[in-house]
């Protein structure tokens, strides 16, 4: 049977059409987004309104729940870019990203604020230098994790447990346990709005990161190699791929993603609290990868589905904040939705639905043949 055969069909029938849609990995995450948005539309038709207002500094800004979702989902979306690659290549997850974000943020503030833990002005130059230093440091921490995983063959979760435990202490140590703050409003542009541009800056940064990742996947073999390594390391090796380097590389890329997240995070509040910044973001990032329908055991991945997974989590958070839910019940609500989403996007469930529709299709085809 060749492709030509399957294309040569008489009439598209409903089950075939659905079968085709269901087959796509990205279907479930998109459906989840639509369901969550539909729920909001029904409960509060005003949920989707977007307005152009002015912020305190008098600059035009867009506001509304959708903008909030795109804005606040940025860090997670950036993080899953790296997390997806790490998952694919190493078959495990990096749980130290939250701690590494704290370190990156701490480094940025250390350079911007100096030893006073206070900065009244933050020039573009110094912020850029600070960010670049944070990038280098985060990539070094990524390399540390990557080396443990690829060279020493330690399970990713165990390897990254080191930084997970020690990272926030390192972050605090960088600033001598002080809590630096930046009072220059221009520092807040990164996590807020650049004067004259009504779109939240974090979202712009996210778009840039996604484009860069898309280019990376298009103009290099990173995607193919990391999947190959994740599926069959031994075979990849015999095809001339260096699995150690590929795994290492994915961790370094994830390190770079955490540096960008760190910059956005410290800019949002012009400061840092070591124990609270990017708290539990590693779990959300792993969840986003899973919600995207990617196997956490490594192998094939779908980057777009992961990114949508990240926004699903943010939509859920924003939705829960938008309604009067008791503080104590918040996590329970979140857990219920997450369980449902994880189950429907599990590869096993997807394969079942896929098989179900394939069966319908094959039967239909057989019947048609008999009639003919």
């Amino acid at each position: 049977m060749t492709t030509a055969d399957t294309k040569k069909k008489n009439k598209p029938n409903v089950s075939e059409l659905f079968g085709k849609i269901f087959k796509r990995q990205i279907f479930i995450p998109i459906a989840a987004v639509l369901v969550l948005l539909l729920f909001n539309l029904i409960v509060d038709p005003g949920f989707f309104s977007i307005e152009l207002t002015r912020n305190s500094a008098g600059n035009p800004v867009l506001s509304g729940n959708l903008i909030t979702i795109l804005n606040n989902g940025s860090e997670l979306a950036i993080l899953v870019l790296g997390m997806t690659l790490v998952t694919a290549a190493s078959g495990g997850q990096d749980i130290s990203v939250g701690a590494t974000i704290a370190i990156a943020g701490s480094i940025i503030l250390r350079i911007v604020c100096g030893t006073d833990a206070k900065a009244d002005s933050a020039s573009f130059g110094i912020v850029l230098v600070a960010f670049l230093v944070a990038c280098v440091a985060s990539m070094a921490f990524g390399a540390f994790n990557g080396a443990l995983v690829s060279i020493f063959k330690i399970q990713p979760m165990v390897a990254t447990l080191i930084l997970f435990t020690a990272g926030r202490s390192i972050a605090a140590w960088i600033n001598n346990n002080q809590l630096p703050t930046v009072s220059d409003p221009s520092f807040g542009y990164i996590g807020g709005f650049i004067p004259g541009i009504p779109i939240p800056t974090p979202f712009i940064i996210t778009v840039i990161c996604i484009v860069l990742m898309a280019l990376l996947l298009k103009f290099t073999n990173l995607g193919l190699y990391s999947q190959a390594v994740g599926i069959n390391e031994s075979s990849s090796k015999l095809n001339g791929i260096n699995p150690i380097f590929i795994k290492f590389l994915t961790f370094v890329i994830l390190g770079l993603c955490t540096a960008v997240c760190g910059l956005i995070k410290v800019s949002r509040v012009s400061g840092i609290t070591y124990s609270v910044i990017a708290q539990d973001i590693e779990m959300d990032a792993i969840l986003a990868v899973a919600l995207g329908g990617n196997a956490l055991g490594g192998g094939k991945f779908n980057m777009a589905a992961s990114i949508i997974g990240a926004y699903i989590i943010q939509i859920l958070t924003t939705t829960l904040y938008a309604y009067k839910i008791e503080s104590t019940a918040l996590s329970a609500y979140k857990a219920i939705v997450v369980i449902v989403l994880v189950i429907v996007s599990a590869p096993a469930v997807r394969n079942k639905t896929k098989a179900f529709f394939a069966k319908l299709k094959a039967k239909a085809a057989a019947e048609r043949k008999e009639v003919a």
Partner: protein, 323 residues
């Protein structure tokens, strides 16, 4: 194989460094100094804890007649292990800010048997009061009352409050929420939104943003710590809503971080309630009394805590009380 063992060792070493930074003093002969073992929470936990630890470090110096050893952990069992070690080291006083309230009976009995006097600070525990000499604590409920009374005194025409709670179940959250809940009920204040932001500025920002997006009006933000107030203010700024003295929205925070008091001084915020981390002087007084053979009559000592109003705060207040 060798590589793997090496790596595991690396893991172990780094993890130990990460969890506890344990500085224990050498055991030496009597040199006239009072030996104290101090068990505290991790100073990285918050600015409050950092200030608390700093006040301890500044007080219990050799110049002041002390020889101090420190142990830090956010985990009860690690703290208990540290306490046992201090007992073996035969310290004179064990100063304890417990991570959890229970499980301390046995080790405190051991301390008592060894003639070591125990002073609790910052947090109480579920144990027989005879096991410790004194307990120096903040009254979170009173902090809340002070703040709510101040709010009552503003005599607003109408109260529409966004209430940002800390981590649910923590002492600070229970005390500070309790005061507001009671008064709001009594006086018919509207709580526009009550949600936990888990002490996080980012989460507070998102919650306030969601209220703004849903077009509900409000004129007070009651945040149970400074970070959350800061996050809330970031959301207001983005939406162009004015805040502070004489503006549309009243901003209230807790903990008296230096930067927060500066916001008050700049009249961007309205109120900040103190949660006094400077407990070392109280402990010092108690130790001096005990050394002279006096007895402590009142075991529970409530710290003096202030509330600062943007209208009256001075630079001196910022310098003295900012943490």
């Amino acid at each position: 194989m060798k590589k793997r063992i090496l790596a595991i060792l690396m893991v172990a070493v780094v993890m130990m460094l990460g969890i506890t930074a344990c500085k224990s003093g050498d055991k030496k002969e009597d040199d006239g100094l009072i030996k104290v073992g101090i068990i505290n929470n991790d100073p990285n936990e918050s600015g409050y804890r950092t200030a608390n630890d700093r006040s301890m470090q500044e007080m219990f110096t050799e110049a002041n007649g002390y020889k101090a050893s420190y142990a830090y952990s956010l985990k009860n069992d690690e703290q208990i292990a540290a306490a046992q070690k201090f007992i073996q080291d035969e310290v004179d006083y064990l100063l304890l800010s417990a991570a959890g309230t229970s499980g301390w009976d046995t080790v405190l009995k051991d301390a008592k048997a060894a003639g070591i006097k125990v002073i609790l600070f910052d947090r109480t525990i579920d144990a027989d009061p005879s096991l410790y000499e004194a307990s120096i604590v903040s009254d979170m409920a009173k902090e809340g009352e002070t703040a709510v009374n101040w709010l009552k005194g503003q005599a607003l025409k109408e109260y529409k409050i966004i209430h940002l709670q800390g981590v649910m179940g923590s002492a600070a959250q229970i005390g500070r929420s309790g005061a507001l809940d009671a008064t709001a009920k009594e006086l018919g204040w509207t709580i526009v939104k009550q949600q936990t932001a888990e002490w996080s500025a980012e989460k507070a920002q998102q919650i306030v943003q969601s209220v703004i997006d849903s077009k509900q009006s409000f004129n007070v933000i009651y945040a149970e710590n400074d970070d959350m107030a800061k996050g809330a203010v970031a959301a207001l700024d983005a939406a162009g809503i004015s805040h502070g003295v004489g503006k549309d929205v009243i901003i209230m925070g807790f903990d008296c971080n230096k930067w927060a008091l500066e916001e008050l001084l700049a009249k961007n915020w309205n109120y900040d309630g103190q949660c006094n981390p400077f407990q070392a002087t109280y402990i010092h007084d108690i130790i001096q009394k005990l050394q002279k053979g006096e007895t402590i009559t009142e075991k529970t000592i409530i710290l003096d805590e202030k509330g600062f109003d943007a209208a009256t705060i001075t630079q001196a207040d910022v310098d003295n009380y900012g943490i």
